[in-house]
Amino acid sequence: MQTIESTKKNRILEGAKKFIKSFPPLTWVVILMIIFFAIAEPSFFDIGNITNVIRRGSSLWMLATMATLVLISGGLDLSLGSVLTFSGVVLALLLKAGANAGIASLAALLSGTFVGVLNGFLVSVFGIPAFIVTLGSMNIFAGLSIFFTESSAVFISDPRMVFFGAGAILGIPIPILIAVLIFVVSFVMLHHTSFGRNLVAIGENETGAHLSGVNTRRTTWLIYVYASTVAALAGIVLSSRIQSADPTVGVGWEFEAIAASIMGGTLRGKGRGNITTTIIGVVLILVLRNGLNIIGVPVMWRSAVVGLFLLSGIIIDVTMRRRE
């Protein structure tokens, strides 16, 4: 009896150890950072501030989840930020032209799907390196966003969209519900479907996956389509929340998404990315940005601090992982 109990205890202990080990090393940095900001400026823990951070975070989390999926497949998507911007612009301009909110949202979502189809086609069928394809489409759709809006923000006043961005169901803000939904769908897709297994296989060894019968072309194509479509959804959520579509709102988001994903433990091309711990990277970025803002670091220094912090975060994570 006793032995069984002790092994049970051991198992629990080991399970707990494993659980803690599965966290990326940066988790501790995030915790330290939260403590630091909380001591430096107690208003950091204001409920208003936290809700604000989480609301902003939902779009970034969606984008980072997508960046992780693409990285796991051995690819890279630099166009996610542009897609986010572009879908907001499509939404706002269609609403302004008098379109129904549902139709406008659908069109905005499909604009993302379109970018994904284009990216996926060029990467999987033509075999062009992903970074150059997505660098091209990033500029195309950033350029189109600026062109269509004549480089000024377009306001969104449709009450349904405003509710979509700012409303809550059962007290939970809708953007967060959507982000959680996307996470669950992506998690199930990655870990419990053959599509997900194929994705990991391609990331580990594309030729090997192809030779063992995986339709690498279709899988690669589909992941870009999925990523861009969700990025467009994130754009709809974001522009509904801030009630305007700014043609430069998404600049740099692709980097934050990729950085969050890497700091959360996604090593490109190794196929062992972790879609769950991506959220650690997202939280790190959100806490850092918000904390710098709250303790009053001048705007001009913020981007340098964030950039250097993320760069060192990526370096720390990658070196520590290699040591393991």
Binding site: L122, F126, I132, G136, S137, N139, G143, I146, S303, I315
Partner: protein, 329 residues
């Protein structure tokens, strides 16, 4: 004796092969010229052509650096930001600290070299994929550039500094000289030095290069330093030409530079291509840009058009390569 003749033959062959490879690009450039001279009577004016060449000099210098990186089978997405900070540092030194012009320029070049070193270390020692390492560096560098100038635009520099960008020697703008000298140096390095051989070898097959005794990490770091310095040179000349500097000056420069490399026929997988093609590619980009201005296309569309051109260029490049591959088999 026999060895020598064989070597000579292979040299001749590679030279003519180079020319054949560049021919389509030269034809495209010529064709664009003909079209534009019909569209606008100003296009073929000596002044306009000189202007194009002078403006093209800056992207050419930047694109030469990117070519080196792409030849090793990597990419540098930070060159636009290095371009900015390479211009921001001397500008800040001259305006805020009244540092003498040569020292300010030297400081700019050193900053470029340092950023190249950082890139090289990130990619060779930390083993980040080049697109991620250089992109992360880009974000950090842009942040630093913003912090240095505190978001301001500085303008109005001493005449001795402006010499680099606007003066003419023998009626030819100075940037053209700088670009030409840079081109010759890089061409010589690639074609006539061991380092050049190593760069090509590494791009063709990094593992094979390492196994055959090439210190791949060192080659990579040196290449990134060269690219960083070239980006800083381009940034300094640009600041001198437009007589103002700000933290985002180079943001729009990176994509046309990469486009020039791709249009110039350097393979994105490394090991194939060269700097001559890049110069033609950069000239094509500049002529298109100039042409759009002449026909009155909205400047707001520039980013869109460059994006489309880059995608078209890689698609065409890939298709041509595939057809060639099939024939080889």
């Amino acid at each position: 004796m026999t060895m020598k003749t064989v070597e000579d033959k292979s040299k001749k062959f590679s030279l003519s092969a180079n020319l054949v490879n560049s021919l389509p690009r030269i034809l495209i450039l010529g064709l664009l010229g003909v079209v534009l001279s019909f569209l606008s009577p100003y296009f073929l004016k000596t002044n306009n052509l000189m202007n194009i060449a002078s403006i093209a000099s800056i992207p050419i210098i930047l694109a030469l650096g990117e070519t080196l990186i792409v030849l090793t089978g990597n990419i540098d997405l930070s060159l636009g930001a290095v371009f900015s900070i390479g211009g921001v540092v001397p500008a800040a030194l001259m305006k805020f600290l009244e540092v003498p012009v040569p020292i300010a320029i030297l400081a700019g070049l050193l900053v470029g070299a340092f950023m190249g070193l950082m890139n090289g270390l990130l990619i060779s020692k930390i083993k980040l994929p080049s697109m991620i390492g250089s992109y992360a560096l880009k974000v950090a560098v842009t942040g630093i550039a913003v912090a240095i100038l505190q978001g301001y635009v500085v303008y109005g520099f001493p005449d001795s500094f402006r010499f680099l960008g606007v003066e003419r020697v023998l009626n030819i703008p100075v940037p053209i000289y700088i670009a030409t000298i840079t081109f010759v140096i890089i061409w010589l390095i690639l074609r006539r030095t061991i380092l050049g051989r190593k760069i090509y070898a590494m791009g063709a097959n990094a593992d094979a290069a390492r196994l055959s005794g090439i210190k791949v990490d060192r080659v990579l770091i040196i290449t990134y330093i060269m690219a960083g310095v070239l980006a800083a040179v381009a940034g300094i000349v640009q600041v001198s030409r437009v007589n103002s500097s700000h933290a985002f000056l180079g943001d729009t420069m990176l994509l046309p530079a990469i486009a020039a490399v791709v249009i110039g026929g350097t393979s994105m997988f490394g090991g194939v291509g060269g700097v001559f093609g890049t110069v033609i590619g950069a000239l094509i980009m500049s002529v298109i840009d100039n042409g759009l201005n002449l026909v009155g296309a909205p400047s707001i569309l520039q980013q869109f058009i460059v994006g489309v051109i880059i995608l078209l260029a890689v698609i065409i490049d890939q298709t041509v390569r595939r057809i060639a591959d099939k024939r080889m088999r």
